[in-house]
Subunit: 119 residues, 2 copies
DNA sequence: TTTTATACCTAACTTTCTTATGTAAAAATT
DNA sequence: AATTTTTACATAAGAAAGTTAGGTATAAAA
């Protein structure tokens, strides 16, 4: 039986806010549980955001003015939708750029794109 | 005046061991201070490994049997050279593969390589 | 002679997760 | 109808892996 190879969780550290902001940038509005499922689905369960990590992060982003919430009743239950504020939209772009730049630097450092001698 | 844009340090978390193991794989043997300088030079100071992070990491890798040391006197000072053990060599490969896989997954998740419809 | 660079080290603290736990409604299963 | 699973929110203790700050001491440069 095949066990899905999740990444050692240290790698995820520092990327959670970026993932959340970027998902909201692309999807308009989402609620917490939806975010965990979307990430799980998109990555084939390789990346699984835990609720213990996500909810505090959402609250922090909201208190920093990056996100705003909208409570919607689904039957008797409340579902909290999050959307980016204007500040959140620019932060999302910055964070994604920073992460991409970091990953490019890392790939170079790991010598995965060796110079071919014509540079 | 231009300030060098270092990455927010959370991103580095979880990648330090991989960087160290990979540098030793490519360079045969290195000492701690040399590693900090090499990374700084290779990345244009975008990634700076602090000694407070590096030395404990080197000690941990050694106690886990990934690295072995060789003390060399330079004048009156000791310099500690680290080399990969056999175990360290396979760990280095695994760690690099994992990090590359993770970065590919992240790039996909961030929708930087959108499907073109022919997959 | 004084400062900077080299070269090692540890410890308190912070950040950011994981793990565990709690609540409760809706849906699916037996 | 009763039980389990899924949905959906939340918090808190603890672990992991860094940063910041400090210490020691030699060699080189100013």
């Amino acid at each position: 039986m095949y066990i899905c190879p999740m990444y050692s969780s240290e790698l995820l550290k520092g990327t959670l806010k970026t993932i959340v902001l970027n998902l909201l940038k692309d999807n308009g509005r989402m609620y917490g549980y939806e975010i965990t499922q979307r990430v799980k689905d998109l990555t084939g369960e390789k990346i699984q955001i835990t609720e213990g990590a996500l909810y505090p992060t959402l609250h922090a982003l909201e208190s920093q003015g990056e996100l705003q919430t909208e409570a919607v009743f689904i039957g008797k239950r409340v579902r909290k939708y999050y959307t980016l504020t204007e500040k959140g939209q620019s932060t999302a772009k910055e964070k994604v750029n920073e992460l991409v730049d970091f990953m490019n630097t890392m790939k170079f450092l790991l010598d995965l794109e060796p110079r071919t001698g014509n540079g």
